[in-house]
Structures are given as structure tokens and as C-alpha cells.
Symmetry: C3
Subunit: 136 residues, 3 copies
């Protein structure tokens, strides 16, 4: 069993944005030389997240972000944190700061429509993503 | 350290449904022969999810699905994805397409009331679940 | 590759509360002697959760709990589960009962502002958290 870790940066140009990072994650897996196992995709930020969803129709991303924005609006009576990004912290905890993907024969075992997304909830910014691959 | 992977199918008969898959996951762990470690339960679909919650009282599942349906209704003004299942994609990202369970002495280390559920958000359909077991 | 598992208890004094457990998780990692790999932080309860978010300003926790309380209120017309905690089960599935943290050189690879929190959604109670460390 081997462990390989690498990282890369992701940039956004809007406050809330989903960026497809499937190719970057696949590239780390290829570099690792690991054929079978699991990869953790982790972002070390508290107003961002990682998710897996459809990467065929960009309207899906639009609709997910619209829903999150309307369900968890930027301003809420009673918010105490004075940086104006409490909604971003909420979205980060609900979507989650990591995802796991299985690896079979050096390839990500994703479904036909699945892609891996970095979710920016308080951009635009440059952020980091860690990928740890464990396997044989 | 060994890695063992298997998969099974899950069928639903409603649009939104939680199906208890605890026995199927336990069965993969027994087949693996792995005594201690971790299992990833992963679904390769973008309008479904995996969660861990109470499997004693079926009313809990009813109430979780009711809450998701009322908080994230099927139709929302502004949705652009033309398959009528944008709400299903949202629920998939919020609940998440995988869960992890610890294994001790060939058994799932679940709490007394915990079961593992496949969540269908755009059924009825037949779907796949992957289980990867890693350990000794 | 080694596997080490330990557990600890967390107490709350309100119905909904986020308790910082970063030091307890770090302490399990040090006990394990594992230098590089991953840790699963898992709670075996169906009305609680584990999340990673900001542990610098306590107002962030306040605002996250306020948002969850207003979005998923305790009482909802149509709830059937008769323990009055259906909202707690919903929050548990949305936030999730486990998190994963990467380990580099015996230290948690958390971001500058990240801490690990146990989320109580049906307290006050005493609860258990399992930590499994896998690596070299």
C-alpha cells in the first residue's frame, strides 16, 4: 500500500462558482502510479467545498448555485460574524470540504455523468486543493 | 493492507426514496475477509446519494424526504437545466454521493440506531452502488 | 500501512451546539505514531454530525447553527416521527456523520482557519466520536 500526495490551485472570477477539477485530480492519480485504491480530494478553506455532480450540462451548476443562494442568502437577520460571509461558511459545511473517489486501473471510477468540482462560495479568489492517493 | 471492491444494484419505486442497504454493505465486507479498516460506499449517479441515519423507525426516512422536498422543491423559477431534475442534483450534492464506515472484527462499526441508506432523488430507477473495503 | 483506532466522549449543554474537537483528534493521531495518511472522524449517532469549519471566531458557529435552525425548524407540519427530533435527523444527514483529515508528519493538514467540530443537534447529551488513523 502506497500513499502519494500533491496539490494544485484553483481560481474563480465570481463570488459563487463551481470549477470542474476532474482532469487535475486524474492527473495526480496518474503521477502517483497507484492502480487501485482511493483518493481524497480536500480543500483547506472554510468558505469553499468539494462536490461530485454532473459536468455535462453547465446549467446543472447554474441551478445548484441558484438554489444555494436562494436557500442560504448572503444576509440574514441575526448574523453576528462581521465578514459578511456567514452564508459561505454554511454552504461549506453542508456541501463538505472533501470528497472521495475510487480508483480502478489508474482511472477514477466516476459515473458517466460525474465530475469533481471545487465550489467557491466567497470568491473571486485563488484557492488550494490537496489530493491524497492511497492504494496499490 | 488489502483492497477489495464489489458492487450491487438498488431499485426504487418512487421519485424520492431511501433504501436501507446496510445488509448489502455488510455482505461485501464479509466477502472481503478484511477484519479491520474502512469501507467506502459510493454511488456513481448525480441525482442520488448515500447517507447514514436511523433505520429503526421508517417515519424518520419519511420526515427527512419531506423536509428535502419542501426545502428544495422540484420547480424553482430560474432553473435552466431542462430535465426537470435540478432539485435532485442539489440534494445529491448536499447529502453526498458517498459515506465511510469503520470495520472492527469483520463487522460495521455502526451506532445502535444507524443504518446505511441509498437515497434516490430522481426515481423510480435501478442504480448501482460500489463498496471498496481497505484494511487488514 | 498501519491502522489505529481510538474514541472519546463529547458533552454539550444546549440542544444544538458545535464543539471544537480538533485537539482530541490531534491527540489520537499522536498516540497512533502514524506520520502520513488519513484519519476518519466518525460519530455513531443519528442526530449529530461532524464538520470542518472556522474555529477562530465563535460567531461563525453561532451563524451556522442559526441558519440550520431557521432553514430546518424543529416543528414542521407533516412530521410523523414522534420523538420531536426529525429536524435533528435531517441536519445529521446534510452535515454528515464523518469527516476525513489528511496527516503530514504526524500533524493534521488543516487550513489556517479550519477546526474539526462535533455538531450536537439533539442535546444536551454525552456522545461518542471514533477516530481511525490509517497510514505509515
Amino acid at each position: 500500500m502506497e500513499i502519494f500526495q500533491d496539490s494544485f490551485s484553483v481560481s474563480s472570477n465570481r463570488r459563487c462558482q463551481m470549477v470542474d477539477i476532474t482532469a487535475e485530480v486524474q492527473s495526480v492519480i496518474q503521477k502517483s502510479g497507484i492502480r487501485n485504491g482511493e483518493a481524497t480530494v480536500y480543500t483547506p478553506h472554510t468558505t469553499a467545498a468539494i462536490t461530485i455532480n454532473e459536468n455535462a450540462d453547465p446549467d446543472v451548476m447554474h441551478d445548484i448555485l441558484l438554489t444555494l443562494e436562494e436557500t442560504f442568502p448572503k444576509n440574514r437577520s441575526g448574523y453576528k460574524h462581521n465578514e459578511g460571509n456567514s452564508d459561505s461558511h454554511v454552504k461549506s459545511s453542508l456541501v463538505g470540504c472533501s470528497e472521495h473517489v475510487l480508483i480502478s486501473g489508474t482511472r477514477l471510477s466516476l459515473g458517466t455523468w460525474q465530475g469533481i468540482f471545487f465550489c467557491e462560495f466567497d470568491g473571486p479568489r485563488s484557492r488550494k486543493v490537496f489530493v491524497q492517493v492511497r492504494g496499490q
